[in-house]
């Protein structure tokens, strides 16, 4: 007998639970804040085959294939990951699936940990894929579970859209039991699964018929819910904004959209009839507002609420009911900021110091190393999207032959999207230096394994991708392996590589600080040698403090990496003697 027990769950844990209960058999993804923990939590359920893929496109396709093959499947990603997977998505809606296929995409309004704040609901409209919008952990579980049924009912992939505040907030859920479904038979059906133009044209018509049926379903489903209270103002909203609104202005009438695409036109029209004024409360783009306005319904949205950044309970009160603002005291003025920084002992610090010294043009990439962008390291010229370091570096080199152009990316990012541009640099003979900072993990998202670590998501040993052998196979004419903490050697090799004017591939190895197990021997500054030149402070190390008349190393923070000792011209840094 299953006993219903209340539990508090992180949104991402609830997504995993929902997929588990929904009978998912295969799950794949690539780490990306705020989506990462979904797959990590799911990997604890050993009935499910969960795996990290090299990138979101591969994950999406592996999961699609599993669904076509007959097992319920899930793919997870952050919003920008869906750009990578979108090629598969745009046509998978044509073929349909066999067993249920669900993908969870987590948006990041306000860019807490992202390079842009694109609104994935646009993809739902663009690809014509049904999209669910949970507001909290309980709905994350319920909607994900339901998404599998929906997917099978309409033979379509289903998107579940999260945002940072859904994924990274906790709420009460009541876990249920897992559905089990026998593996569906797989039959060869070229007309359905082979999208040559002749078949694709037919499938496009089939898709339109499915959308018509979906439209009927969306009008009926209780996921879209009208709550009539004070009728002077009606708010159409969804996702976590519903929870904000319910908290701060509980008396308003609400149409809560649990389905973000397609929209329930009749239900919206009925709601509009019942209220005096109608507003759409939605984060980032006016996706619903545009659609509703196109039907001629008078509604306001972005003229009231901001189009940029996340909407908070404060924003809602300010814009709809400013008299409800509370008094507060702000003692934060004049405080020094505390931005995130590269950890003490981070293997990236030394290399950035050298690149700065060589005045290289540095095309960076997505990962922890973006923390080296701001002063004092000031290490980056560009950072655009996964893998773009190499290709942008190539382009800049084409524009300015005289610049020493270097691409810098991490091991996981290199595997994700760095291999085709490396092939391009060799094929087209672009003389750039590619530095792969191999810290043995996907660090920024909290340390996930990938093909270069030799371990799977389930912790199994596997074949470890050999970066040097890969570069050699590609035909890179200059390949070297370097120790991230041996600055003189890095400097010398880098100078050689730049002087050679051929494509070069340097792999800089140093384990992520968060992965190190042994206790470090901290360094100390010997005051009689320190002349306060301040060079060590340009490393941006959180263990180094410059007081008025001295430089000090905080022993609890120092990782003993020795980078400051290699930079100090007066050899003032020494290891603390262990008694």
């Amino acid at each position: 007998m299953h006993r219903a027990e209340k539990r508090i769950m992180l949104g991402n844990e609830a997504f995993a639970r929902g997929a588990y209960e929904g009978g998912v058999e295969v799950a794949a993804g690539y780490p990306g804040t705020p989506s990462t923990e979904i797959l990590q939590f799911l990997s604890h359920y050993r009935e499910v085959h969960s795996r990290w893929s090299p990138n979101e496109k591969v994950a999406f396709e592996v999961a699609s294939g599993a669904a076509i093959g007959g097992k319920r499947a899930l793919a997870t990603m952050k919003h920008v990951g869906l750009n990578v997977a979108s090629d598969a998505l745009m046509t998978l809606v044509y073929t349909g699936i066999n067993a249920g296929f669900v993908f969870i995409v987590a948006d990041d309004p306000s860019m807490h940990s992202s390079q842009n704040e694109q609104d994935s609901r646009n993809y739902a409209f663009f690809a014509k894929v049904p999209a669910l919008e949970p507001a909290n952990s309980a709905e994350a579980l319920l909607f994900t579970r339901l998404a599998f049924q929906l997917s099978e009912e309409f033979d379509l992939p289903v998107m579940v859209r999260s945002t940072t505040r859904v994924s990274h907030s906790r709420g009460v859920v009541i876990p249920g039991v897992r559905e089990t479904h026998p593996v569906r038979p797989y039959r060869k059906a070229a007309e359905k699964y082979v999208m040559i133009p002749a078949f694709a044209r037919k499938s496009r018509v089939v898709l339109q018929e499915k959308l018509k049926m979906l439209q009927e379903w969306v009008e009926e489903t209780p996921l879209n819910r009208i709550e009539i209270r004070d009728t002077s103002l009606g708010v159409i909203t969804g996702g976590v904004l519903y929870d904000y609104l319910r908290e701060v202005l509980p008396s308003l009438s609400v149409l809560k959209l649990g389905v973000g695409y397609p929209l329930p036109r009749k239900k919206i029209e009925a709601f509009a009839e019942k209220v005096e004024k109608l507003v759409v409360l939605e984060e980032i783009d006016p996706v619903w507002e545009r659609e509703i306005k196109s039907w001629g319904i008078p509604v306001r949205g972005k003229e009231i609420f901001p189009e940029i950044g996340e909407i908070t309970p404060d924003t809602i009160v300010e814009r709809l009911s400013p008299e409800k603002k509370r008094e507060y005291i702000d003692l934060s003025t004049y405080l020094p900021p505390r931005p995130p920084v590269l950890c003490a002992g981070c293997p990236h610090r030394g290399i950035f110091t050298i690149l700065r010294e060589l005045e290289a043009t540095v095309c960076g990439d997505i990962g922890c190393y973006t923390l080296g962008t701001l002063p004092p390291l000031s290490a980056m010229d560009t950072c655009l999207c996964m893998g773009a370091s190499i290709s942008l570096a190539e382009g800049i080199k084409l524009a300015h032959q005289e610049l020493p152009v270097v691409a810098v990316l991490g091991d996981s990012t290199f595997v994700h999207a760095g291999i085709p541009p490396l092939i391009d640099a060799v094929y087209n003979k672009t003389p750039i230096v590619v530095l792969v900072l191999d810290n043995g993990t996907t660090a920024m998202t909290g340390g996930q394994d990938h093909p270069g670590t030799g371990k799977t998501l389930l912790g199994e040993e596997t074949v470890r991708l050999d970066f040097v052998a890969l570069a050699q196979a590609i035909g890179v004419p200059f390949v070297a392996r370097l120790d991230a903490y041996h600055l003189a050697h890095i400097r010398e090799t880098l100078q050689k590589a730049l002087a050679a004017r051929i494509p070069a591939f340097l792999i800089v190895e140093g384990l992520c600080q968060l992965k190190k197990k042994e206790r470090a021997v901290p360094l100390t500054v010997e005051d009689q040698w320190c002349l306060l030149c301040g060079l060590c402070n340009t490393l941006g190390c959180p263990a180094l403090l410059k007081e008025e008349e001295m430089v000090h190393i905080t022993p609890e923070r120092c990782a003993g990496c020795g980078v400051c000792a290699q930079v100090c011209p007066f050899c003032a840094m020494r290891e603390v003697e262990v008694r």
């Binding site: 929870d243 507060y328 005291i329 934060s332 405080l335 020094p336 505390r338 995130p340 920084v341 002063p375």
Partner: protein
């Protein structure tokens, strides 16, 4: 019964774990809890805040400015940074520990933080949580020392309720250490 609080400090100080314990304790009392937290880039030594709301009903995981009745500050200066979330006269439990942001000249770090908070009308309790945790042999349990101190002030939950929540959150060898840190803070 309803209310809200913020927990703030610097990434890596165990703020998430502490808020997990609070949430577990409140759930066990039959209350609903909503809580929001910071993952990803903000954890690399950056400033961190967690919002927590509880009650028979609880919807929004984010608080409004001027709303929180309690604050637990794991680092002194961060208490000042998040005062806008506090209700006038709110209760603040603050760690005496000061962590200078890297690259910032140390004279920019504010002095007399507890006094500043008191003068602004907050009810302030200063706890040498980091010192106490070092005496226990592990700086990582400063969060439980603070939680122990907070548990004396917070009207919900007795010692057993709190310790049950700690049992739910930790397991293995770290459990005992976290329990002793909690007791140290509560004593």
């Amino acid at each position: 019964m309803k209310g809200s609080m913020v927990l703030c400090g610097v990434g890596g100080m165990g703020i998430l774990k502490a808020s997990e314990v609070i949430a577990e304790m409140l759930i066990a009392q039959g209350l609903f809890v909503r809580q929001s937290e910071v993952h990803g880039m903000a954890q690399r030594g950056g400033t961190v805040i967690t919002h927590l709301r509880f009650g028979e009903e609880a919807y929004s995981p984010l608080l409004m400015r001027g709303e929180a009745e309690y604050m637990i500050a794991f680092e002194s200066m961060e208490a000042l940074r998040y005062t806008p979330y506090l209700k006038l006269g709110a209760t603040v439990v603050v760690n005496s520990f000061c962590l200078h942001p890297p690259g910032v000249n140390s004279h920019r770090y504010p002095t007399n933080i507890p006094e500043t908070l008191q003068q602004a009308g907050f009810q302030v309790t200063v706890i040498p949580a980091t010192e106490k945790s070092l005496k226990l042999g592990d700086v990582r349990v400063a969060n439980m020392v603070l939680l122990g101190a907070f548990s004396r002030i917070f009207p919900i939950g007795n010692k057993e309720d709190w310790e049950n929540a700690i049992h739910k959150t930790f397991s293995g060898e770290v459990l005992e250490l976290n329990l002793s840190a909690f007791r140290e803070g509560r004593a």
